[in-house]
């Protein structure tokens, strides 16, 4: 498998804080890749650089063979990278359907086509029956899935998921896990996720990268990574207490 996303030595500094420090990794096409690490490790900063919110201070990000670092978020999306936000940001006053139509209109010019596509996506994410509700009236698990739906409607090749399982009950987590697995299997969607819920990470990821103080301390198959002493010391060990 070739790399769909290639991150080469990127860094980001906020004043005195080096949030991401010369980080490199590759996400293979069609894979599910997880980034884990303690709070403040630089995971969201990494995401924001890939999604175009910040330009890295150094290094390169390539997507499908083209350099994308420093591009604006809307252009990154149009290249084929969809994202969700850690703190969900649906369009609150719009209906669930209209939220997803906005995403679907990215590559479609006709609203009727976009609505048809939005309905397909809503069905995949079990939101079809709630399509007429205002987004602001949804529960948190529904809002999280709505974020995924809106992003998915833009037809991304790569989906960036920023803690979509956080705050969900285990049954809800399993539901999202199975939805994501299906998307990955059926449409070859590549997924890069940041996640604290190890249950979901272990169930989904083909490869895991562990960030600590902005740098990679381990990368590999899930089974290897969870046995890694550095990972247990800095991150996983703390969860077992």
């Amino acid at each position: 498998m070739s790399a769909l996303l290639k991150v080469e030595g990127i860094s980001k500094r906020f004043r005195g804080l080096l949030a991401v420090d010369r980080l490199s990794f590759e996400v293979p096409e069609g894979g599910i890749f997880a980034v884990i690490g303690p709070n403040g490790a630089g995971k969201t900063t990494l995401f924001n650089m890939i999604a175009g919110v910040y330009a890295p201070d150094g290094g390169a990000i390539s997507f499908a063979g083209e350099r994308i670092e420093g591009l604006a978020p809307d252009r990154i999306c149009r290249r084929g990278i969809g994202r969700t936000f850690q703190i969900v940001r649906p369009f609150p006053a719009l209906s669930v359907e209209d939220n997803v139509i906005v995403g679907a209109l990215m590559h479609r010019h006709d609203v009727v086509d976009a609505r048809t596509h939005a309905h397909e996506v809503l069905r995949k994410l079990d939101l079809y029956d709630k399509r007429g509700q205002r987004a602001s009236s949804l529960t948190l698990p529904d809002r999280k899935r709505l974020e995924v739906a809106r992003s998915l409607a833009t037809d991304p090749k790569l989906l960036l998921l920023d803690e979509v399982m956080a705050g969900l009950r285990p049954t809800e987590t399993d539901r999202i896990v199975s939805i994501l697995r299906e998307l990955n299997r059926d449409s070859g969607l590549t997924i890069l996720l940041i996640e604290h819920v190890m249950r979901a990470v272990m169930a989904l990821a083909g490869r895991i990268l562990v960030l600590h103080h902005g740098a990679s301390i381990a990368e590999g198959q899930p089974a290897e990574v969870v046995r890694d002493q550095a990972v247990i010391d800095s991150y996983l060990g703390a969860e077992d207490i």
Binding site: D74, C77, P92, L94, S95, D98, L105, V111, A114
Partner: protein, 334 residues
């Protein structure tokens, strides 16, 4: 295209719209001269409110300086008429681009340099104030002494030069208001409308959904400014006199936004209902006060203030969303 325009419109709405339209088109047959001037004002504010609503209600950009576009449209068309005898419809070909450019200028400054929210609103006030002071000193438009269009007793209505009786202006504004309504509805149901609502709701999320927010905000300002300038042209030819102190004054900008706020920001009927309520009721109030022989300067402003307070407290979404639920026509919630 035309069929899609009436998609999802209930029969009830169509009937009500039909009755309203027939009523409005027939009104001059029965209305007194005074009532006609009130109706003209109502239509004027309904039309501009619709234009302002594109920016605020759809794209979420608060403009408190729409008097700028009214003034630019009015002054451009009036000056072309006074100096070169160019009629208002040809004048529009200059007036609209002038206002559109002014809108694009404000939009570019604000959106390029990320001036948002209240700071954007302040910028719109600043440019309108700048124009007011500038026009005060612009001798080509007679500065602060005012620009006057030649008037005479008109026995017939010259639609081409907009010289004639109020009833002609009434019909021009009525057609404009209907067209603006249809146009705004088409916009709202199109791709661009969805993008605007997304930007209004959450600009960061809109960008990450692939929307070039700069571009779509610019389009909103330019369309809104262009539409507003048309009302300015009508204003000039209806009142026949223009003073920078009046035309560009911030109170004019505020008057423009009161209708849509009272009626319902972001709704298509809001600006129309708001104009009817505010202008209709305040004119009634003034007429009633005059009939009682009471002279209360500023009564209109106090009335506007009370209306605004009541709406903000009781119906923060405006009158229309509430009214449409009451009469069983729910405009699709956006």
């Amino acid at each position: 295209m035309f069929a899609r325009l009436f998609e999802n419109v209930s029969r009830r709405t169509l009937v009500l719209l039909g009755v309203l339209l027939v009523g409005m088109f027939g009104a001059p047959l029965v209305a007194s001269d005074y009532l006609l001037t009130v109706l003209i004002l109502i239509l004027y504010f309904a039309y501009i409110g619709q234009a302002w609503n594109i920016m605020m209600g759809f794209a979420g950009q608060l403009s408190l300086g729409h008097a700028l576009y009214v003034g630019l449209g009015a002054y451009t068309a009036a000056a072309l008429y006074v100096h070169f005898g160019i009629g208002p419809w040809l004048g529009l070909l200059v007036a609209v681009p002038v206002a559109a450019l002014a809108g694009a200028f404000i939009g570019f400054l604000a959106f390029r340099f990320k001036v948002g929210g209240v700071y954007f609103a302040i910028l719109t006030i600043a440019v309108a104030e700048f124009a007011r002071v500038g026009f005060d000193h612009l001798s080509w438009t007679k500065g602060s002494s005012g620009l006057f269009l030649p008037v005479a007793q008109y026995t017939h209505n010259d639609l081409w030069l907009l010289r004639g009786q109020p009833v002609m202006f009434y019909y021009v504004l009525l057609v404009a208001t209907v067209l603006a309504f249809v146009f705004c509805r088409a916009l709202l149901k199109s791709r661009i409308g969805y993008f605007w609502l997304a930007i209004r709701e959450d600009e960061t999320a809109a960008r990450s959904a692939g929307i070039d927010t700069f571009r779509y905000k610019m389009i909103a300002v330019v369309i809104s400014a262009s539409m507003t300038s048309f009302a300015g042209v009508i204003y000039a030819f209806y009142y026949n006199n223009l003073f920078p102190e009046q035309v560009f004054h911030i109170s004019r900008s505020i008057e423009i936004i009161l209708g849509p706020i009272v009626g319902g920001v972001g709704t298509l009927f809001g600006p129309i209902i708001g104009a009817f309520l505010l202008t209709g009721m305040s004119e009634t109030l003034i007429a009633a006060l005059a009939a009682l022989g009471v002279d209360l300067p500023g009564a209109k402003q106090v009335f506007y203030g009370i209306c605004l307070l009541l709406v903000i407290m009781a119906l923060p979404d405006g009158v229309w969303p509430w009214l449409s639920r009451r009469i069983g026509l729910t405009e699709r919630e956006k």
